[in-house]
């Protein structure tokens, strides 16, 4: 009888890239629902625009590179990039800002470096940094969260669409009516104008740790991240590194002078800390790969987030921190190369002889 020859092992693989990417997307669903509850339908619109341009950009690049479109779209990595980008952008973002970020991330940061697996920089963060530098005013525009006891205008679907398509609100609305400084902005400007953190924290916009509303999104991102760790889609090293890198300096600074520094809890639950720890820094392609390397990589990101927030001129530093550590990842991998089993013994027996 005749049989087909094949290489060992003959067992079915236990994981697949599309399955991993899909689980990452599922893990963000609760946070997305909470986001829409607090900030209106802007996130959904951003997601649609980002997904459209990410997939469009990816398809175009695959054609340009003479490869099959299906292979790239089927792995869901462009969708993950788009969704993370949408989470990073403010709820009200003009479509061309989102499109610029998506196209830069996918076309330049991903495909010009060789596509999935070869990109040095996290595509979502690369795209975000470009629009942060190119369109700073749009990126600092955050709507008021739905939290009852402060002056609040719910931005409905029509108003969101209007802003997204034109870059401006309908005539009957002013910018001041719908927007507030984000908690990170408020803390940064408050501290720089000699307010104590306790004073800033007394503002009704501030919640238990981060800003009200914002901290709930962080909570649900944290939940999604824990679920991913339980499913072993991501490992604990990078999140722990990020938290450690952020908490150690913030605890020290807060202990030295609690008036002039925000609390460690505030830094942990505001801005994109959680999103970064579980969904951005854990992007395997652009991160370090060994367990020790991942701890160092995460800690570097955590520390840079703190440094930029505390001493830099940007309110949040996640994207810059990730991009900087992306550059360091190959070097980290090189210095944390694990010892191959059997290799120390040879040294020992050599010196013993």
């Amino acid at each position: 009888m005749e049989f087909v020859r094949r290489d060992a092992p003959f067992m079915a693989p236990t994981a697949s890239v599309p399955a991993i990417m899909r689980q990452v997307l599922y893990a963000l669903i609760p946070a997305a629902i909470v986001h829409v509850w607090f900030f209106g339908p802007g996130l959904i619109l951003n997601m649609l625009i980002a997904v459209t341009f990410c997939i469009g950009g990816e398809s175009a690049m695959m054609v340009a590179r003479g490869k099959s479109i299906g292979d790239a779209i089927g792995d869901f990595s462009a969708v993950v990039t788009a969704i993370i980008l949408a989470f990073a952008l403010p709820p009200l973002t003009p479509w061309w800002v989102t499109a610029t970020a998506a196209l830069f991330g996918i076309v330049v940061a991903k495909h010009l470096y060789g596509g999935l697996g070869f990109n040095i920089f996290n595509p979502a963060m690369a795209g975000y940094v470009v629009v942060l530098v190119a369109f700073p005013t749009y990126l600092n525009f955050w709507t008021v969260p739905r939290i009852g006891d402060i002056d609040y205008h719910y931005v409905d679907l029509f108003e969101t669409l209007h802003y997204t398509l034109t870059g401006g609100l309908p005539e009957y609305l002013t910018v001041d009516a719908v927007s507030r400084a984000s908690p990170l902005d408020a803390v940064k400007s408050g501290l720089s104008t000699m307010h104590t953190f306790a004073e800033i924290d007394a503002n009704p916009m501030m919640g238990n740790f981060g800003g009200r509303g914002w901290e709930w999104i962080s909570n649900f991102i944290l939940l999604g991240g824990i679920w991913l760790m339980m499913k072993r889609i991501i490992r604990w090293h990078i999140p722990l590194g990020v938290f450690g890198g952020l908490l150690v300096p913030s605890i020290i600074m807060y202990a030295i002078e609690s008036g002039a520094n925000a609390s460690p809890g505030f830094y942990l639950f505001s801005g994109a800390t959680m999103l970064c720890a579980f969904f951005v820094a854990t992007d395997p392609v652009s991160a370090a790969t060994s367990p020790k390397g991942r701890l160092i990589y995460g800690a570097g990101i955590g520390f840079l987030i703190y440094a930029i927030r505390r001493w830099g001129s940007y309110a949040d530093g996640v994207a810059f921190a990730v991009i900087i550590m992306n550059m360091a990842a190959p070097a980290i991998d090189y210095i944390t190369k694990p010892r191959i089993v059997g290799h120390i013994w040879r040294e020992k027996s050599r010196t013993g002889e």
């Binding site: 049989f3 020859r5 596509g115 991160a287």
Partner: protein, 506 residues
């Protein structure tokens, strides 16, 4: 009797794989009858090939030597049953992929009459070490765990090193395979008697029998036999059910908490590892006079309706064995000799059972599909690697053919266990890629060695020519110097003398 012990070394990575052994262990080992035709490969071990000592048309008896060992690392081969040698010809075999190897084909007469032993069986304790090694060599015994290294030579090498433990490998960590498990359940006495012979041969006073924790029946059988033997040199070591805990170096690491040095042998850390089936084979040869002409093998897989373990003669074809267990299911696609993780896929079931065949695995092809995608550097391969390599880096360098990097990232330390392959979400055939890269590297080494030899020859040649040239110049210089020393008067003399000579001659 000593209780199973648990104090173990650490193994990096590894995988918990589904066992899939319950079906094949459900019934006792069945004996496959002697087939009409036996196809016995002349070389069934690693090392120097054996040489046939029978001719076509010759009648052979069961246990008769048909190929003698042919070098410092080699083993003889015996006829598995009585009959007539009808051919010595190339035949498809499992060891060389897709290729053929010379085989002695015996038409069996069905009488199964055995050859008379040349020497009477005496208690093994009376043998000197060297004599015992010679005896084991004559039995054609090789490592039955799959590596088929000639046992006598392995023991001989081990006996000149400072040894602490003999480790009997009854781990059998690959899915589906259960032949060692069944052997331990049914022939624990032979295994332990073999262990005593091996200990005597090696001069060691300590033996671990390593068994995976998911084989309680085997552990029980061995423990019961140990109670009867009252030999407190032998200890059962229960090892965790993690693939690849049964790989030689990994087992040593688990049992002794010492790493076998890269490029070294277990003897470097005071261990020698033998498969339990090898121990049983040593016993049967030394104490019963039966050379290695049969073995237990597992016939299993989703392409076999009734998986079981069978005791079959070396040389029985896979087709005959599968027929015996009840044939294939429909839609079988792959025939694998060995396990699911490290076995070798063959294209034809005419291949014979050899000393190395621990499993005949028939698969319907449902296993392992999925298109290769780019590596996303998730690092799961590195966490699974039992040798703590970085397969993602190795893959990168293998694609780039970067030999120096492949070497420094330890490609040659890869044990080809397949763990990285299995966990890879991008379905990259890492193991196959690494095997290929290793082969290329060895080729390159050979080439380098050849080039070096050529260069040495060239250098020697040039040096010789230079030396000759120098010698000639020196001689010439000496002559010139002599002439100069003698001065113009002498030259005139010479000319005069030669003129005079000319005149005399006329």
């Amino acid at each position: 009797m000593s209780a199973p012990t648990f104090d173990l070394g650490n193994l990096h990575g590894g995988l918990r794989l589904p066992a899939r052994k319950d079906k094949s262990t459900a019934q006792a080992i069945q004996h496959v009858p002697v087939p009409q035709q036996l196809v016995i490969p002349i070389t069934q071990h690693v090392g120097n090939p054996a040489h046939p000592v029978v001719g076509i048309g010759e009648r052979v008896l069961k246990g008769q030597l048909i190929a003698e060992s042919g070098g410092p690392i080699s083993a003889p081969v015996h006829a598995s049953s009585s009959g007539k040698v009808v051919a010595i010809e190339p035949w498809p075999v499992s060891r060389r992929l897709g290729g053929n190897a010379p085989c002695i084909v015996i038409e069996c007469d069905g009488e199964d009459s055995a050859v008379e032993l040349s020497e009477a069986i005496v208690p093994f304790e009376t043998f000197e070490q060297d004599i015992l090694f010679q005896k084991i060599l004559q039995g054609g015994i090789v490592g039955l765990g799959g590596a088929v290294f000639p046992t006598a030579q392995k023991l001989m090498h081990a006996s000149i090193t400072p040894l602490e433990h003999l480790v009997l490998n009854g781990v059998e960590c690959e899915p589906y395979i259960s032949c060692d498990d069944m052997l331990m359940r049914e022939q624990a006495d032979e295994i332990l008697a073999g262990a005593q012979i091996l200990m005597h041969a090696l001069g060691v006073e300590h033996c671990f029998v390593a068994i995976e924790s998911d084989k309680p029946e085997a552990i029980h059988a061995i423990a019961e036999e140990m109670a009867k033997l009252q030999d407190d040199r032998i200890v059962i070591k229960q090892v965790p059910t993690i693939y690849p805990s049964g790989a030689e170096d990994q087992l040593v690491q688990l049992v002794t908490n010492k790493e076998v040095p890269s490029g070294g042998l277990p003897t470097d850390v005071g261990c020698v590892v033998q498969n339990v089936a090898t121990a049983a084979a040593v016993y049967r040869w030394i104490c019963k006079g039966e050379p290695l002409i049969s073995r237990v093998t597992t016939v299993t897989g989703d392409g076999i309706p009734a998986p079981m373990n069978v005791f079959a003669r070396i040389g029985t074809t896979a087709a005959d064995i599968v027929n015996f267990v009840g044939g294939y299911t429909e839609n079988v696609r792959h025939l694998v000799i060995g396990g699911l993780m490290t076995g070798k896929s063959v294209t034809n079931d005419r291949i014979p059972l050899v000393k190395a065949t621990n499993c005949i695995l028939v698969l319907t092809g449902a296993e392992r599909t999925g298109k290769e995608q780019p590596c996303i550097r998730c690092g799961d391969c590195a966490s699974a690697c039992p040798v703590q390599l970085l397969p993602q880096q190795l893959f990168w360098y293998a694609c780039a053919d970067n030999e120096a990097k492949l070497r420094s990232y330890g490609l040659m330390d890869c044990i080809e266990c397949g763990c990285c392959d299995l966990v890879c979400p991008s379905h990259i055939p890492l193991t196959a890629d690494f095997k290929m890269a290793k082969a290329r590297m060895r080729e390159l080494e050979d080439e380098v060695a050849r080039a070096e030899r050529a260069r040495d020859r060239y250098v020697a040649h040039t040096e010789r020519l230079e030396k000759e040239q120098l010698l000639r110049e020196q001689q010439l210089d000496a002559q010139k110097q002599a002439a100069r020393d003698a001065g113009p008067r002498a030259i005139a003399d010479i000319i005069e003398r030669s003129n005079k000579g000319d005149a005399d001659g006329e």
